[in-house]
Amino acid sequence: MTQDSSKDKSGRRAFLRTAGKALAGAMGGAALLAESGAQDEHIAGSNAKTSFPTEDYDWTEHRWAYGIDATRCIGCLRCVEACKTENDVAQDAHHFRTWVERYVYLEGEERARVDSHSDPQNIAASGSESEYRFDNRYKDEKVTKAFFVPKMCNQCQHPSCVQVCPVGATFRTEDGVVLIDRKYCIGCEYCVQACPYGARFFNQETGTSDKCTWCYHRITKGLQPACVEVCPVGARIFGDRNDPSSSINEFIDNNRVHVLKPETGNAPTCFYVGLDKEVS
C-alpha cells in the first residue's frame, strides 16, 4: 500500500509539474518558472534528511496516522476544549481545529439530523461560545439511531490545500503531517476554499491560515496529540505506522476502516470506524 501510494504521489507530482511547466511555457515564461519549480523538490527532497522541528527528531523515521472510532465517541467534547487550549485557538464558535458532529435519526425520518457544538441552539444551552455542549433537543422525540463523529484535518496524502497554495507555505512533512508556515503564508485563503473537509480556517490574529497539526509540537517529543490524550473513551487513536506494535496499526489491522470523501482523491490518513451513509 505504501509503495502504491508513493508511486501515486510521484506520478501526480510529475504530472502537475509537467502541466505547470506547459502552461508557463505557453505564456512565455518557461525558463524563469522551470527554475523556481525546483523548489517543490527542495521541500520534499533535501530537507527530508535534516531533523525537524527539534534536533533529536528525525522525521524520516515516522509515519503518523490517526484513528477515530465513532462508535465509542460520547460527545463529551473534551477533545475540542483541549485542542482550543493546547493550540491557542480563538475561543469562539467559528474556529476549530477539531470538532464533533452529532447525527440523529428520528423515527420515520430517512435522513439524519446533524449538528455540531457550534450550532446556535447548543451555544444557547452552554451559555457561551467557549463552552462546548450538545443540548437535549431530542428528549421528547423517538430516536431510532444516534451517534457522534469527531472531525479534524485528515492530513491527506494528496492534500488539495497544499496543491493550491500559491507560495508553498503549506506543505506535507516527511512523517505525514500537513503544516503551515505562518511566516510565509500570505493569507489568501485559497487553501481554506480547497479543503473538502472544512478543516481549515483563517486565523485573524496571525493573518494566516490555520488548522490541526496533530499537535506536531507534542508528537515530535513523543507525546500524544492533546485530543487523544484527553479522550475518556479511547475514541481517538494516534500512532506511528512504522511501529508494528503501535495502537494505530492495531486499530487499522483489526477493523474495516473508512476515510471521509474518498472520491476527492485526497487520500486521508485519518481512518474511521463506525461511519454512516449520512456522514460526509
Partner: protein, 393 residues
C-alpha cells in the same frame, strides 16, 4: 484585527465555514479582469482586425482596458491576510497552484497594454511635445521615451508592432480571464464551482461586460464632450454585444443544466439554494433583467431599425443592465459557491459589512479607482478626435 462577521446558516455546515473566506473584493476581482478582456476585445476589433466601424472607440477602449487592468491586483492584495507578502507568489511561485501564475499573467498583461498604448499614442504625444514648452513638453517627451521620429517609415514600424500586440493581446486578455474561471472551476471542494465550463463562461461574460462598459462610457464621453455619436460604431458594438450575449446565456444555461441533470450527491441542497435565496439574484436579476431584457431590447431595435436618440438610449440602458448582470454573475459564482456548505447539508448567508477592508465602501472605492485613472488618462492622452495618421490604413 478586523471585526468578525459570521454568516447565519440553516441545516448543517462545518463550524469553520461560518466565516465566509472570499468576500466582496474577490467578486470584484473577476469583474475587473472581465472588463479588461472585454474592452480589449473592442479595441482589437479595429487594431487587430481592421474593422473600421470600431475606429471611433478603439483608442478609448484601450485606455479603459489599461485603467481597469492596473487595479486588478488591488482587490486581491487588499483581501490578503499579509498584503506585504504578496510578492512571495512571484518570488517563490508554487507551480501546482492555479493561483501562482496570477502575478506573472497580470504583469505580462499590464506591460502589453502599456506597450500598445505607447505605440497608439506615440505620434500624438510627439505632436503634443512639439507644440508645447517647459514641463509639459518634458512630460510628453518622456512619455514617448524621447522617440520623436514620426516619418512614414517609423509609422509603418509602429503599425506593425501595434498589429502584433493587438493580436497577442487577444489570447492574453482572454487567457487571463479564462484563468480566473479556472481558479474557481478547478476546485473539487465545491459543487457550485467545480465545472469544466467555468473558464469559458467567464470569458464570454467578460467580453459582454467590457463591451457594455465601452458603449456606456463612449456615450457618456460623447455627451460630455458634446460631439456627435458615431452611429455605425455604436450599432457595430450593439451587434457584437448581442451575439456574445447569446453565447453567454447559452453557456450559463448549459452549465446549470449539467449540474442539475447529473444530480450528484447533495443536489437537493443546490436546488433548495437555487429555488430560495438565489432565485431573485440569479433568475430575476442576472438572467431576467440582466440578460433577457437587454437581448429583447437590442433585438427589437435591430429588427425595427431604430435610429438616433432612441437607439442610443435603448443601447445604453441595455449595456447598463448587462454590466449589472455580469457583476451579479460574479457575485453568484464567488459568494454563491460559499453559501452552499461543503457538507451539502446546509446553506449560509453572506452579509457584506459596510465598513472595513472587506466592506462595501472598500469595494466601491476599488471599483471607482479605475474610472478616476481613466479620467486622468483621457485628459493626458485624449483618445478621441481624428485618429493619428499611422493608424489609418
Amino acid at each position: 484585527m478586523e471585526m468578525l462577521v459570521s454568516a447565519p446558516f440553516t441545516g448543517y455546515v462545518y463550524p469553520n465555514e461560518t466565516i465566509i473566506p472570499w468576500t466582496l473584493l474577490i467578486a470584484i476581482y473577476p469583474y475587473l479582469t472581465g472588463l479588461v478582456a472585454g474592452a480589449f476585445t473592442v479595441s482589437s476589433m479595429y487594431h487587430a482586425f481592421g474593422m473600421e466601424r470600431f475606429k471611433a472607440v478603439a483608442r478609448f477602449a484601450l485606455l479603459i482596458s489599461l485603467s481597469c487592468m492596473i487595479f486588478v491586483p488591488l482587490p486581491l492584495i487588499l483581501h490578503l491576510g499579509h498584503p506585504e507578502r504578496a510578492m512571495n507568489a512571484m518570488i517563490t511561485p508554487h507551480l501546482s497552484s492555479a493561483f501562482a501564475m496570477f502575478g506573472f499573467f497580470a504583469a505580462f498583461y499590464v506591460v502589453l497594454l502599456m506597450l500598445e498604448c505607447w505605440f497608439v499614442f506615440r505620434a500624438d504625444n510627439v505632436a503634443r511635445a512639439n507644440s508645447s514648452t517647459g514641463l509639459i513638453r518634458a512630460f510628453y517627451r518622456a512619455v514617448t521615451l524621447w522617440s520623436d521620429d514620426v516619418s512614414a517609415n517609423a509609422r509603418e514600424y509602429d503599425r506593425k508592432w501595434l498589429l502584433a500586440l493587438a493580436i497577442i493581446g487577444i489570447p492574453g486578455a482572454h487567457g487571463l480571464h479564462g484563468y480566473v474561471g479556472f481558479v474557481y472551476g478547478s476546485l473539487k471542494s465545491r459543487e457550485w464551482w467545480g465545472s469544466d465550463l467555468m473558464p469559458v463562461v467567464f470569458i464570454f461574460s467578460a467580453v459582454i461586460s467590457g463591451m457594455a462598459l465601452c458603449i456606456v462610457l463612449y456615450v457618456v464621453a460623447a455627451k460630455v464632450r458634446r460631439i456627435k455619436i458615431d452611429f455605425a460604431c455604436l450599432k457595430g458594438m450593439a451587434y457584437t454585444l448581442w451575439g456574445f450575449m447569446m453565447f453567454t446565456l447559452l453557456l450559463e444555461a448549459l452549465e446549470f443544466a449539467n449540474l442539475v441533470y447529473k444530480g450528484r450527491e447533495g443536489i437537493e441542497i443546490v436546488m433548495e439554494y437555487v429555488r430560495g435565496p438565489l432565485f431573485v439574484r440569479m433568475f430575476v436579476v442576472q438572467f431576467g433583467l440582466g440578460a433577457l431584457l437587454p437581448i429583447g431590447i437590442i433585438s427589437a431595435m435591430i429588427a425595427r431599425d431604430t435610429r438616433g436618440k432612441a437607439f442610443v438610449i435603448g443601447l445604453t440602458i441595455s449595456s447598463l443592465l448587462v454590466l449589472m448582470s455580469v457583476f451579479m454573475m460574479r457575485w453568484n459564482v464567488v459568494i454563491g459557491g460559499q453559501e452552499i456548505s461543503k457538507t451539502m447539508k446546509g446553506l449560509l448567508t453572506y452579509i457584506p459589512p459596510l465598513y472595513g477592508r472587506q466592506g462595501i465602501l472598500s469595494g466601491l472605492a476599488v471599483m471607482t479607482a479605475p474610472f478616476l485613472l481613466l479620467w486622468v488618462l483621457t485628459r493626458l492622452f485624449p483618445p478621441w478626435g481624428d485618429m493619428s495618421p499611422e493608424e489609418s490604413k
